[in-house]
């Protein structure tokens, strides 16, 4: 040591020398910090106490205490989708891990990056049916992109960094790191993120330029082209959305999107056809059916989009951009597959379109737009207004109008309200719309809103909910109150599991088996009991003032919007039907015949 101590101060920290020894719990926290993690969502328990102790002794990573592990995972999903960063969850062994399974599966289906750390019983107890023991890696193998059981503290830093790499690279997804309690106590060597490279995990993200050229040649030759965009554009990052807008501006092609892709392309654009699929617009679905070139960008031909697969867009050539090679030709055979990151591929498409001086077929496109305008004229989202009852569509329209121009993030639960929100709320930017698409998880929206609000404390975060869904994770109101998160829960209360009721009406002779929301709580009193604000609107004329009251409230709000209980969600492609066999709202009183084969589809 130097006399004045300078050398001691200048000496590199042990970490740089690669010999830093930390306890397993400290390695977890250090790795989170080095990965840039600011917030984690979790719930303590016996098998994670050492990690909670390490959390207590530092200030770099803020822990958000949720009220249920499922809530923690959905909060982390909301956080991830609103920021583009991975969501991190910490839960205990056994029930902590099993409660996280729904959130993991949800994140897997919707390609959301989550790093979930689970405590495990001590190594010597594994396999003995110990207290709060569950085979977490066994249970979560099918609902994660990858998972690990870490048996040695010396492996922990590497696994932590690999976990972040795998969760966020390529097609994002959830990962689980299961850490026995003794490993959390034991000392191990810390490794920095830069020093870790996975042995086998590589992702091809650069497009094959030959495929790009083939794609733009098809685009220049197309008479009836259509962009069909999905969550891959959002997951690629804001640049992909920007490039998509450029490509649409250059080509003038119409655009439709999956539920996951809303916001990638602005809903105010003239090229926007609205949502595609089962509850998509008439124009979007007819355009899908009749197009001669489908340009699928970051979507996966989900059954909710395609309808009956052998009747799906029979006359079109198909370009399919996806970062996950297994999505190519999975449900639908395509002509030009492009395996790449969306932003990278769009950049090359733009480059070749410009340098090869490609032009869209203007005359054909004009005719195509004329056809589309005829479908648009059907005004498939119209509904019968009422001066006595609040129509759910009206409620969403008013919510949209009164929140326009604000910094708004929307989450949803699952069901009719979700579809109405997707149809009617106009998104202009990516990462503003958080909904459970693939798994269809009721109870997603409230905790997701908690996560979004943690990421964006000053934003207006609204969960468009149903009275049935919202009760599944209502306990997270307590989290919102604890962390001063002024989330707004906009409950379209029709006293039914509306989508279940709608299907029972359509397919099961109106026998509404167990779909009535009986014995509902008083949501106003419930909000107050949690320490939030409760509001209720029963008639259309009081709705606007109450919405404004909700927006202006500095606290979490449960807003019980009593809507017309009879309203159904239209338009709709009944199960087993094609895109051009949609039923519209004015046909709702007519008998819709669904085949036996169709009834078997979910």
């Amino acid at each position: 040591m130097d006399r004045d101590g300078t050398e001691l101060k200048m000496a590199p920290p042990k970490a740089v020398a690669g010999t830093l020894e930390l306890s397993g719990a400290e390695i977890v926290i250090r790795a989170l910090k080095d990965q840039g993690v600011k917030h984690i969502f979790g719930y303590p328990g016996g098998a994670v106490l050492p990690i909670y102790d390490a959390i207590f002794q530092q200030n770099d990573v803020e822990h958000v205490l949720c009220r249920h592990e499922q809530g923690a995972t959905h909060a982390a999903e909301g956080y991830a989708r609103a920021t583009g960063k991975p969501g991190v969850v910490l839960v205990t062994s056994g029930p902590g891990a099993t409660n996280a399974v729904t959130g993991l599966t949800d994140a897997l289906m919707d390609s959301i990056p989550l790093v979930v750390i689970t405590g495990q019983v001590a190594s010597h107890l594994i396999g003995t049916d110990a207290f709060q023991e569950a085979d977490t890696v066994g249970i979560t193998r099918a609902c994660t992109k990858h998972n690990w059981l870490v048996k040695d503290a010396n492996d922990l830093a590497r696994v932590m960094h690999e976990a972040f790499q795998i969760a966020t690279t390529g097609r994002p997804g959830p990962v689980v790191i299961d850490i026995p309690k003794d490993v959390q106590f034991k000392k191990g060597a810390y490794a920095t993120p830069a020093s870790v490279k996975h042995r086998t995990f590589r992702v091809k993200s650069d497009p094959d330029l030959g495929q790009i050229v083939k794609a733009i040649e098809l685009m220049a030759a197309a008479k009836k082209p259509l962009f069909y965009t999905g969550g891959g554009i959002i997951n690629s990052g804001p640049v992909a959305s920007k490039l998509l807008r450029e490509l649409v501006a250059l080509t003038g092609f119409p655009v439709t999107s999956t539920l996951m892709g809303l916001g990638a392309f602005p809903a105010s654009s003239p090229e926007w056809l609205g949502l595609v699929g089962m509850h998509g617009t008439y124009e979007a679905n007819h355009a899908m059916h009749d197009c001669d070139l489908m340009i699928c960008l970051g979507a996966r031909f989900d059954d909710r989009v395609t309808g009956k697969i052998d009747l799906f867009s029979p006359g079109s050539k198909k370009i399919h951009l996806d970062i996950d090679p297994s999505q190519i030709n999975k449900n639908v055979r395509v002509d030009v597959p492009i395996v790449a990151d969306a932003a990278k591929a769009l950049k090359e498409m733009l480059h070749f379109w410009k340098t090869q001086k490609k032009k869209a077929d203007a005359a054909a496109l004009k005719d195509w737009w004329k056809e589309i305008d005829q479908w648009r004229a059907k005004k498939s989202l119209d509904y019968k207004p009422s001066s006595k009852l609040i129509k759910p569509q009206y409620a969403i329209d008013r919510l949209y109008e009164l929140t326009r121009g604000r910094n708004v993030f929307i989450t949803t639960e699952v069901g009719q309200h979700q579809m109405w929100a997707a149809q009617r709320f106009k998104f202009e930017e990516p990462n503003r719309w958080m909904t459970s698409g693939g798994l269809g998880t009721m109870g997603y929206g409230l905790p997701a809103a908690v996560g979004v609000q943690m990421a964006h404390p000053d934003a207006l975060v609204i969960d468009i909910a149903g009275e049935a869904s919202v009760q599944m994770t209502m306990q997270e109101m307590s989290t919102a109150v604890q962390y001063d998160l002024p989330i707004k829960i906009f409950i379209l209360n029709n006293e039914y599991m509306g989508m279940v009721r709608q299907w029972q009406q359509l397919l099961h002779g109106g026998r509404y088996s167990h779909s009535y929301s009986e014995a509902l709580p008083d949501f106003v009193k419930l909000a107050e009991a949690y320490g939030g604000v409760g509001l209720r609107a029963q008639t259309p004329d009081e709705l606007d003032a109450k919405i404004l009251e909700m927006i202006d409230s500095p606290k979490p709000v449960l807003f019980d919007v009593r809507v017309d209980p009879k309203e159904n969600c239209y338009p709709m492609i009944p199960s087993g039907k094609a895109h051009n066999e949609m039923i519209l709202s004015d046909a709702m009183e007519e008998e819709t015949v669904v085949s036996d084969e169709g009834k078997m589809l979910v």
Partner: protein
Amino acid sequence: MRAPTERHTIAVLVDNEAGVLARVVGLFSGRGYNIESLTVAEVDHAAHTSRVTVVTSGTPEVIEQIEAQLRRLVPVHSVVNWTTSSPGIEREMALVKVAGTGDKRAEAQRISTIFRAHIVDTTHNSFVFEITGAPGKIDNFVDLMRPLGLVDVSRTGVAAISRGPEAM
């Protein structure tokens, strides 16, 4: 109309880490694919890599999905379909126990010579044959042993490798 199903032999080189076989098998059961046979063993002790050989059946679309889904698994190094890519050699080993006396016993031994099976255990009224070959050959051998007092069969499943100098 669905395309007819085909039988394919797929080799998967994986990191030999805990749970890797469960990932491969879970993928098949979870997505409803068939497994007709499966063999797995570490092939490079220093590099900790194992080779899984799966015989599966499905339409060409399903086979394409199986390969793509296998490639998604994180510990997978490479996937090769020996049925569609370079012509491969497939071999399987079986231990076949046949019990009997007199003419049947003599006939069993005679057939085993024709199939170039080895006798690896014998008593006065039983044989255990070791036979190696393509799966079809083993099927034939087992069928011929059935009326001669077949007691038990243990098969390894298919191991496969490509012809020529290249690695998979």
